[in-house]
């Protein structure tokens, strides 16, 4: 009675019509049902369950991505600003240098100009002094001459008072005057 009957490779083909089926039967109806059930389940979960469960992570991922992009953008901007600042500093440096060089050349020119001016003034002053000295001397000479004539005339008149001797004396005075003339 208690026997295990191992009926290997028992053909079920005729039996398939009677009871439902074995594991290897492809049932069109069940396939159809599987697709319907699965799609229904997918629709329900996709609409009501997955957004809530995955939403937080997706939002976090998107936020991270956005932040990464923003960070990259900010870094680029910072680099651009830095480059600009460096350019500006370099420009300012060259400008300052140019200004210093220009100032130095202007100062040099000014000094040279001042020296020249001073020299000219000095020379003019000297020339004027010389001119004045010369004029003074000329005037002194002329005055001396006049005085000499006066003195000579006075002396002569004294001589004449004593002895008016005519021609000889006059000649003597004239000769004397000529010698005065020759004297500077």
């Amino acid at each position: 009675m208690l026997k295990l009957v191992f009926l290997a490779v028992q053909d079920h083909a005729p039996a398939a019509q009677e009871h439902a089926s074995g594991p290897l039967t492809v049932e069109g109806g069940l396939m159809l049902w599987t697709i319907v059930v699965f799609l229904l389940l997918l629709a329900i979960l996709k609409r009501f369950a997955w957004p809530a469960i995955l939403g937080a992570v997706e939002a976090r991922e998107q936020a991270l991505e956005r932040q990464l992009a923003e960070a990259a953008h900010d870094r680029e901007q910072a680099a651009a600003i830095l480059a600009e600042h460096q350019k500006l500093i370099a420009e300012a440096k060259t400008q300052a240098h140019a200004i210093i060089v220009e100032a130095r050349s202007v100062a040099d020119k000014d000094r040279a100009h001042a020296i020249e001016k001073t020299k000219a003034e000095q020379e003019e002053l000297l020339a004027r002094a010389r001119r004045e000295i010369a004029a003074e001397r000329d005037r002194a000479v002329a005055e001396l001459r006049r005085d000499a004539v006066d003195v000579s005339l006075a002396a002569a008149s004294k001589l004449i008072e004593k002895r008016l001797d005519g021609e000889t004396d006059r000649k003597l005075v004239q000769d004397f005057l000529v010698t005065l003339d020759e004297r500077p």
């Binding site: 295990l4 074995g22 039967t25 697709i35 059930v37 937080a56």
Partner: protein, 323 residues
């Protein structure tokens, strides 16, 4: 309906008294086995002991009745619809009932989890307890399976692949319960799931590569091929490419079906040993073995759901990165 191959029938004589020797697993299986044995109308009835048989093929196969602890529940049977030359029987079966149960469990689990997670997020704290663990499981699948394998912009495939994973997982686990049936141990179910995976893979390819790029995956010509060789290349390679496309879902369907079926056959065969030898020693040993196989089955239930999802992700990723 087509009948593929031949099934193996394990007919075993049963003794109700011997069942006491079995462990927890044997006791679990006992109801199912006993019921099947009692009601099996095996075609091997011309053989002896026709009333005390375990018809493994019948136990694993689909039926219009469900074994319950309170007896057999007969499901209504409708006339098959005739579409063209095809007769499609839409009447409910054992596997359909368990598939619907799995779908209901998955839907309920994640609808409730989603609500708890949303509430927790509104309060600015992470979800706790069951909802938290479901969230972690879903996120694990998304981060470790979907995104790395599907590639750029894989987020759009996450709902499909997550639903696929949990649907298959719950169907697998339902088969391990007493009086349970494994819908994924039915080639029709896995074939339908694989068909949807196939359509998803191909549509993903069309959308990413465009029509020209997609046709390139069927009629492939390597660049720089001399003109006279082109027709030869097309004639040889086009069937190869098409077989390549079809073999992926075929492998998916058969892998899941075979894995779920094999474990159940093994457990039933081990329990059958007890009744074959009618010995307490064998009963204890067989029950221990059956228990370990059941634990392995539990692992396989997770593993195969994972593998199906992982491979679908990989195939989508491969298709999108084609050529």
């Amino acid at each position: 309906m087509t009948r593929f191959g031949r099934s193996v029938t394990l007919a075993a004589a049963l003794s109700m008294s011997a069942l006491g020797a079995g462990g927890a697993v044997a006791a679990q299986e006992h109801g199912g086995v006993a019921d099947v044995a009692r009601d099996a109308v095996a075609p091997a009835s011309q053989q002896e002991a026709s009333e005390n048989q375990i018809d493994i093929a019948h136990h694993l196969g689909n039926a219009h009745e469900i074994e319950t602890p309170f007896g057999i529940l007969h499901l209504p049977q409708w006339e098959p619809l005739h579409v063209g030359g095809l007769a499609i029987d839409l009447s409910p079966t054992k596997h359909l009932v368990f598939m619907l149960a799995a779908a209901a469990i998955v839907a309920l689990t994640f609808l409730l989890s989603a609500r708890a997670v949303a509430q927790a997020q509104a309060q600015g704290r992470p979800a706790k307890g069951f909802a938290g663990s479901m969230e972690a499981l879903a996120l694990y699948i998304r981060q470790e399976v979907v995104l790395p394998n599907v590639g750029h912009h894989g987020e759009g495939f996450a709902p499909y692949l997550l639903t696929l994973f949990f649907f298959i997982l719950v169907m697998n686990i339902l088969g391990l319960l007493p009086w349970g049936a494994t819908a994924t141990g039915n080639i029709s179910v896995t074939a339908a799931l694989a068909l949807m995976a196939f359509i998803t893979i191909e549509v993903a390819g069309m959308r990413t590569l465009g029509w020209k790029g997609y046709l390139n995956t069927i009629f492939y010509l390597p660049p720089g091929l001399p003109g006279p060789l082109k027709p030869i290349m097309l004639v040889i390679m086009t069937p190869v490419e098409i077989i390549g496309k079809l073999s992926k879902p075929f492998a998916l369907a058969v892998r899941l079906f075979a894995n779920m079926t094999a474990g159940h056959v093994l457990v039933l065969a081990l329990i059958g040993l007890t009744f074959l030898f009618k010995s307490y020693m064998v009963g204890v040993l067989a029950s221990l073995l059956a228990t370990s196989i059941m634990l392995l089955e539990l692992f396989v239930a997770f593993l195969q759901a994972f593998v199906f999802t992982l491979l679908t992700s990989v195939f989508i990723g491969l298709m999108r990165a084609e050529h």
